[in-house]
């Protein structure tokens, strides 16, 4: 049941193999005896060893959302993505593909690219000017007097990259989970009509939440707390996650409006051939997903106080602004809202066991003109406020997890997707430790 400490160190360099047997047994037991339907025990949110296991078993094994194509539209454009101890370069190459490279110089390990985003030809380490091609090959290192230096042995380490419907994913595992292709087939038809390749960044926000990455994800998976999002509640029905019979009296009216809006939206989707059905495989597959197209309140177009559009240019070949929100949740680190007029992507990048970077990017049609077709302030207002509120909620929970008085509490019915996320997480880590 427990992984043996006698596994040779070279067996994929697993952290588990290096842990003292007692500590490993303790951690394995935490996963094994996790109480279904309840939040996790405190160490999952506070313990640095479990964080290391998370980085290895989750972020080291699975496809993680890195960026959208709008963030690197042209050859040479790159973004750097950091999580835990890792730093990746996501680079648009000359063939139009994406190269994912470990941002670690093969000379003495310096970060090669230090900016969060930019454009580069070859990649030059700032320390001793070791120069790598966009493919990661070492093409120049001044080597006076060296006779046995073989540049071919010192290319940047590469990772797997995948671009689907304008979203770029990275996987640093030797062998990425094979079912990602199936998941991509699920979401591609929902996203393709929004044509992310013809969008541009209207605004990008990086916030650091003082909380464990799992609390960030958990918080996003329920709307039980949506009373705390007054701006968002103008357009997003706060009955999200509820079903008939679970509706509190004060939301009955909203629920009725929601049902009507949903039925109108589905008519529109059928007219335009847009998929809208809920596909929910959050913990029943490795590359877990939930996707659907759901109605918005008011005009039903966008995340504005009256639900009216926030950018005047329709995305892709969409014919109609009243398309609600196509929302997607991907394990382990992202969620998205695709609307007729804009797209919001959310990437979650853990820093350590108690800090997480949340990167929110607002995309509009690439021919939309700032100040004429959209006002960046108005475009970003609702989710900026919501992010701040969510940050506060996550931080309250992190503080709680640090208290000796904390004990796991029950997820409510409307929080079943939180349970699915945690269940997915626990399964994946156990598989890795096994």
């Amino acid at each position: 049941m427990t992984a043996s400490v006698n596994v040779p160190l070279n067996s994929r360099g697993k952290l588990a193999a290096t842990l003292p047997a007692e500590q490993l047994a303790e951690i394995t037991a935490l996963f094994e005896f996790r109480r279904t339907g309840h939040s996790l025990d405190a160490p999952f949110y506070t313990d640095s060893t479990i964080f290391k296991i998370d980085m290895e078993a989750i972020f080291g094994q699975h496809w993680i959302f890195a960026a959208s194509t709008a963030e690197l539209p042209e050859p040479g454009d790159y973004v750097t993505v950091d999580y835990g101890p890792y730093s990746l370069i996501v680079l648009r190459n000359d063939d139009g593909g994406v190269n994912i490279l470990h941002n670690v110089c093969r000379h003495r390990g310096a970060r090669v690219l230090t900016d969060a985003a930019g454009t580069t030809g070859n990649l030059v380490c700032g320390y001793h000017s070791w120069t790598y091609s966009p493919e990661g090959n070492l093409i120049h290192a001044s080597a006076p007097g060296e006779t046995k230096f073989d540049k071919g042995c010192f290319g940047l380490k590469r990772a797997h990259g995948r671009e689907v419907a304008g979203l770029i994913f990275a996987c640093i595992a030797d062998e990425p989970p094979a079912d990602f292709d199936e998941t991509a087939k699920i979401f591609e038809p929902y996203l393709a009509p929004h044509d992310l390749s013809k969008t541009k960044i209207a605004y990008q926000q990086n916030i650091i939440e003082e909380g464990n990455w799992k609390l960030v994800m958990e918080n996003n998976r329920e709307c039980y707390h949506c009373d705390g999002h007054p701006e968002l509640a103008c357009s997003l029905f706060p009955t999200w996650g509820l079903t008939e019979g679970l509706i509190p009296a004060h939301l009955q009216e909203v629920w009725d409006r929601n049902k009507e809006a949903q039925s109108t939206l589905e008519d529109r989707c059928r007219r335009y051939g847009l998929p809208y059905e809920v596909v929910e495989q959050l913990d029943t597959r490795i590359a877990g997903i939930r996707i659907s197209r759901e109605s918005l309140d008011g005009d039903g177009e966008s995340f504005s106080p009256d639900g009216h559009r926030l950018s005047k240019k329709l995305l892709g070949d969409l014919r109609d602004f009243r398309l609600g929100r196509c929302s997607m949740h991907l394990q382990p680190n992202s969620w998205f809202h695709f609307l007729g007029d804009h797209v919001v992507t959310f990437g979650v990048f853990p820093i350590n066991e108690h800090q997480t970077l949340v990167r929110t990017t607002w995309l509009v049609a690439d021919d939309a003109v700032e100040g004429i077709d959209y006002d960046p302030e108005k475009l970003t207002y609702t989710w900026k406020q919501t992010n701040l509120q969510d940050k506060a909620f996550v931080e309250l929970c992190q503080q709680g997890a640090g208290s000796p008085a904390y004990e796991p509490g029950p997820y409510m019915k409307s929080e079943y997707q939180v349970e699915a996320f945690i269940n997915w997480y626990v399964q994946r880590v156990q598989e890795h430790l096994a």
Partner: protein
């Protein structure tokens, strides 16, 4: 030969994305024949004489008058604009009476142009026009004028065109223009008329809709009595009717033209079906005082402008045409509070030049970058060679042979340029070239975008001409 009239194949034509007016590219180019074709672009309004060459009676008491410019030039305009015509209603004396009429033809056939006039028996001008304007009549005109028109480029050309009565004339120009252009478009025309036989252009509209899958046309008789056999809609404009003809109206640009009451109703209904008010363009075709004043103001501005252009051309025709907008930032005539025409508009996605960095703009803006910099002729000159490189920041001229690597020579002369690989790979020696030509053999250390912005790698470059370098 036997002609087989059986219809074969019902596949959709393959089209490029969106719509683009033909002058768009012409105005973005300055070379060769394209330059001569600049006249086909919708310039600022001009005053010109035009000769009537044909009259065509239309249904609904309307008459189309086909004109050509007396000077032989094509008339450049945008679909939806109008011309102001001086009609000598009372002979040459006293002053002729000015009236504005929408152009009903397509600017893609610019060698002749049409106006279509409805005869209002109680009016002063239109009965005169119907009775007197015929082939050979020469009239003085000013145009094109008006901000109610199709855009120069639209990658999602989805339109709802609403017309009532004589309001069909600018809409007809739009339909004809779209039909004449390649590209994806989705056009719904909803045309309200007073009598079953009174829809001007109905034969052509029916034909266009039958051969062009991008265009759908709906007719409505309003609240008038419906004759037997009528296959169109009935009733005034309602939200339900809009939903029926264009259930995706809220994603379309709407162009509406007709009497004031009709347009006021349309404004309300469009809002109801979710059309954003910034997606609605209207042309009032009523003779109410406010509208007339607006027309007069616009025409007066255009006249001033035309006069200015005439003077400019008289001074130096060549200079004038060279000074016309060449970038894809095409102008839309905007009449601001000061009464000046301002250039604005959006760059096209495909051919838009690289947004110039500060370095590049310094080069392209003046054409003479040295002018703003210190005078290189005062610098010391070192070295030997047939060419001179001026390093503006260092303040030195360095002689160089065409075979020598620029970086080496610069370093020898003490110019500070960082460098590492010296083989065109790492890009660390990248500098900006202010003028002159080089030959560069880089190995990926610089991007095409940077090169077009004026940068180069001196480590792997040789000079072909005298150079001015920002280092």
């Amino acid at each position: 030969m036997i002609e087989v009239l059986t219809e074969t194949g019902t596949q959709e034509p393959q089209r490029i994305r969106g719509l683009e007016m033909p002058w768009n590219r012409v105005m973005g180019s300055n070379e060769g024949a394209a330059r001569a074709a600049h006249a086909l672009g919708p310039w600022h309004p001009q005053e010109f004489m035009a000769e009537c060459v044909e009259t065509v009676p239309e249904a609904g008491g309307m008459m189309t008058f086909v004109f050509r410019r007396c000077d032989g030039a094509p008339l450049a305009f945008r679909a939806g604009q109008y011309v102001n015509v001086a009609f000598p209603v009372n002979g040459e004396e006293p002053e002729p009476v000015d009236r504005s009429y929408s152009l009903s033809s397509s600017p893609t056939e610019p060698w002749t142009f049409n106006i279509t006039v409805k005869c209002d028996p109680t009016g002063l001008v239109s009965p005169w026009v119907h009775a007197n304007v015929k082939p050979g009549t020469v009239l003085e005109m000013l145009g094109p004028v008006g901000a109610f028109h199709l855009p120069d480029a639209d990658r999602r050309a989805r339109y709802l065109l609403l017309a009532a009565g004589a309001g069909i004339t600018p809409i007809m120009s739009m339909v004809r223009t779209i039909h004449s252009l390649p590209g994806q478009a989705d056009v719904v025309v909803l045309y309200h008329g007073a009598a079953a036989g009174g829809f001007a252009f109905h034969k052509e509209l029916a034909y266009t809709a039958s051969v062009d899958s991008r265009v759908k046309v709906f007719y409505s008789l309003g609240d008038r009595s419906i004759p037997d056999g009528w296959e169109g809609l009935s009733g005034r404009l309602t939200a339900a009717m809009l939903e029926e003809v264009a259930p995706d109206a809220n994603g379309r640009q709407v162009y509406a033209c007709g009497p004031e009451g009709y347009l006021n109703t349309a404004t309300e209904l469009l809002k109801k079906v979710g059309v954003d008010d910034t997606s609605i363009y209207m042309e009032f075709f009523s003779g109410d005082r406010q509208t007339l004043l607006e027309y007069q103001a616009e025409v007066a501005l255009a006249a001033d402008f035309a006069e200015g252009i005439a003077e400019e051309i008289a001074e130096s025709a060549e200079d004038y045409y060279e000074s016309q907008p060449t970038a894809f930032g095409l102008y839309e005539p905007v009449y601001d509070a000061d009464g000046t025409l301002e250039a604005s508009g959006l760059p096209l996605e495909i051919v838009a030049p690289e947004a110039p960095g500060s370095d590049a703009s310094a080069e392209s803006a003046g054409g003479e970058p040295e002018a703003a910099s210190p005078d290189a002729s005062s610098f010391d000159t070192v070295g030997t060679g047939s060419l001179t490189m001026s390093f503006m920041r260092t303040g030195i001229n360095v002689r160089i042979e065409p075979s020598e690597r620029i970086l080496e020579v610069a370093h020898r002369a003490g110019v500070r340029i960082g460098a590492n690989c010296k083989e065109g790979m790492c890009g660390s020696c990248k500098v900006v070239k202010l003028s002159g030509e080089i030959e560069m053999n880089h190995q990926g250390g610089i991007r095409a975008r940077e090169i077009s912005a004026g940068k180069f790698l001196p480590c792997c470059s040789t000079a072909r001409t005298d150079m001015v370098i920002d280092a």
